[in-house]
């Protein structure tokens, strides 16, 4: 699904990512750990193609296409979907209008989707205007549900979110990644899984709360612009909880 090869990224004069190699397979969910300032958000922003992030070396392949220098909207249309941590308010653009725009086909049941993330009362409000932390997360998920991406980029799903919202966000992210597979009389769950559109995930987390809700396959630590310590995400989380990132520093030396 996504292949990153020897990616070097600069912000202004400073190199933030130094030779990232990462492969995320179809239907795989990858968890990225790392202390503040290690370059996690930069990686996501670079994958999405925002300005201010200059790729100096390496390339990004997504669904078989080289998107290293593709404009943001082409990546989005190809199936990259990102949940923003601090999205801007756009005055005069309602949540309903934006959700409709996210689904370029225009056939989405906006009301139904909005109800599923408790955003139905926000549809007529300007997007992100005065939204709380949990509301921003739910609004981002609502847009992504309409967008139907092949690859979900999610920066800290748990930041600024209370426990009740965490459960809703966790199960919604799981739904986006795995689709709605359930026992049905006509098709087995295995057949459904084979036929399903592949969806992968790249999720940044500090607390690991999101791991309670989804099956994350692999994880890695990003430290000082370098990826290291590939392992089961739960094991990484246990390790960081106990020892912090000190061992990563030793490992990289």
């Amino acid at each position: 699904m996504l292949r990153i090869e020897d990616l070097h990224v600069m912000i202004g004069e400073k190199e933030v990512l130094s030779g990232i190699n990462l492969h995320i397979a179809e239907n795989e969910t990858f968890i990225l750990f790392g202390p503040n300032g290690s370059g996690k958000t930069t990686l996501l922003m670079t994958l999405m193609g925002f300005g201010n992030y200059t790729i100096t070396k390496g390339r990004i392949l997504f669904r078989g296409q080289d998107i290293t220098h593709a404009p943001v909207y082409e990546r989005a249309r190809l199936g990259l979907g990102m949940s923003f941590q601090r999205p801007p308010t756009i005055h005069g653009l309602t949540t309903r209008q934006l959700v409709t725009l996210c689904d370029r086909g225009g056939a989405t049941d906006v009301e139904g989707l909005a109800r599923s993330v408790h955003m139905d009362t926000f549809l007529e409000r300007d997007i992100n205007a005065g939204f709380s932390g949990g509301e921003i997360k739910r609004s981002e998920l609502l847009q992504l549900m309409a967008q139907k991406p092949y690859m979900l980029l999610f920066d800290e799903p748990e930041s600024g979110v209370d426990l009740e919202n965490m459960k809703l966000i966790g199960t919604t992210v799981r739904g986006l990644l795995t689709g709605s597979i359930a026992p049905k009389p006509e098709t087995s769950m295995k057949e459904q899984r084979v036929k399903k559109r592949p969806v992968s995930g790249l999720i940044i987390t500090h607390t690991g709360y999101i791991l309670e809700y989804l099956n994350a396959d692999r994880g890695q630590v990003l430290y000082n612009g370098h990826l290291c310590c590939e392992a089961n995400p739960r094991d990484i989380l246990d390790h960081i909880t106990k020892y912090g990132y000190q061992e990563c520093v030793r490992c990289l030396q």
């Binding site: 404009p71 943001v72 909207y73 989005a76 923003f84 005069g92 209008q97 934006l98 996210c102």
Partner: protein, 385 residues
């Protein structure tokens, strides 16, 4: 701006005969009127007043409680409208008011009887058809106690106009617990000079909502309606959407005086200079307490031009709460990228943000008028990015 030479315009002689059915109008004139919000089919309209150049050609009310007359008829019927005519605007204010006072061509008189709630909007159009025509109109709108009406007024020139001057006096009277929504759509040409002079008064519990839309070029326009909230609990809101393409000079503002307790005033102006010049003024005076006023002047410069925001607040007593927010700038890159991350290309994203910025939706206009405005915005976007 150059001084306007009124001597260059013809202020006499162009009076057309009555047009009983608006569908008989010249198709190109109809199209120009449509751009100014006039529905010639008169669907969903409670009445229509149409003036071309120097005289009224159509004036009809379809609704009990709604009196719609040519101003000259109204002056004859009501002995010169004492207590109303020339009470909100000073006839001696400037050469434009004096010109209108001396040589009145027409204008509409709208009176909504006490308690009458007019379900569909009343429409009026002041149309300039001939070349180098100068038009003097004087409008009076009286909404009596507990009554309600929405007036949609379009001012337009014929699309091949080589020059025209429009001088318009408007005086508004909103009674106790009455509501007047006044929507004005201007469809001028790059050779038109425009000098409206507007004043009004709102009594206790009354509401005045003014919507102003100017998207097309105009040579020189200066407008500064002033509303006095004289009764307890009266409210006023001005929403303006102005685009000034290359060659346009627009000096537009609104003034609200909060003269009684519990009054509220709001002025929201959204302006885009796409080559032209905009002076965006606003004034709220708080002379009684408690009273609240908020003023918002926001401008974008897209493709050249000048925006001069002049927000003014004047408090003259303890306990008034007045605030303002003014900004002149560009579209935030962050907003464009957010929308691009949802699959919109740069033009789609910019256009979406511009429409949100102009936010015509808050005016609550009839659908067909909103559609015309949306189409006009789409057209004018070509000069912005």
């Amino acid at each position: 701006m150059d001084k306007i030479d009124l001597g260059a315009f013809r202020f006499n002689g162009s009076v057309l005969s009555e047009i009983p059915d608006l569908r008989q109008l010249d198709p190109s004139d109809r199209a120009d009127m449509l751009m100014a919000g006039v529905d010639v089919e008169e669907r969903e309209r409670s009445g229509t007043y149409l003036q071309v150049d120097h005289g009224e050609v159509h004036c009809q009310s379809h609704q009990p409680g709604l009196e719609l007359l040519d101003i000259k008829q109204a002056l004859a019927k009501y002995d010169g409208l004492p207590g109303h005519f020339w009470t909100q605007v000073d006839a001696d204010k400037d050469e434009f008011t004096r010109a209108t006072a001396q040589n009145l061509h027409g204008g509409y008189f709208i009176r909504v009887a006490k308690g009458a709630k007019i379900p569909e909007p009343v429409q009026s159009c002041l149309f300039l058809k001939g070349d180098m025509i100068g038009q003097n109109v004087h409008n009076v709108v009286i909404v009596e106690d507990d009554a309600e009406v929405h007036v949609i007024t379009g001012c337009s020139v014929a699309h091949d106009s080589k020059g025209a001057a429009h001088l318009g006096i408007s005086e508004f009277f909103v009674g106790k617990n009455a509501k007047l929504t006044f929507t004005m759509v201007h469809n001028w040409a790059d050779s038109t000079v425009v000098r409206p002079r507007t004043g009004g008064v709102v009594e206790a519990g009354g509401a005045f909502v003014n919507n102003y839309v100017l998207l097309k070029p105009v040579k020189d326009l200066q407008s500064y309606p002033a509303i006095r909230l004289n009764g307890q609990g009266a409210v006023a809101r001005f929403n303006s959407v102005i685009v000034a393409p290359k060659g346009s000079y627009v000096d537009s503002g609104s003034r609200i005086e909060l003269n009684a307790p519990d009054t509220r005033g709001e002025i929201i102006a959204r302006t885009i200079a796409s080559g032209g010049t905009i002076v965006s003024r606003g004034f709220i005076g708080g002379n009684a307490a408690p009273a609240k006023g908020h003023l918002e002047c926001k401008g974008l410069i897209l493709g050249g031009g000048v925006i001069h925001a002049v927000p003014e607040l004047l408090g003259t007593t303890d306990g008034v709460e007045l605030s303002h927010e003014a900004a002149v700038g560009k579209i935030a890159q962050e907003e464009i990228e957010y929308l691009m991350a949802r699959g919109l290309d740069e033009t789609e994203a910019t256009s979406t943000i511009v429409r949100g910025f102009l936010n015509v939706d808050i005016m609550g206009l009839p659908k067909e008028l909103k559609d015309v405005i949306d189409a006009t915005i789409a057209e004018s976007e070509k000069e912005m990015f």
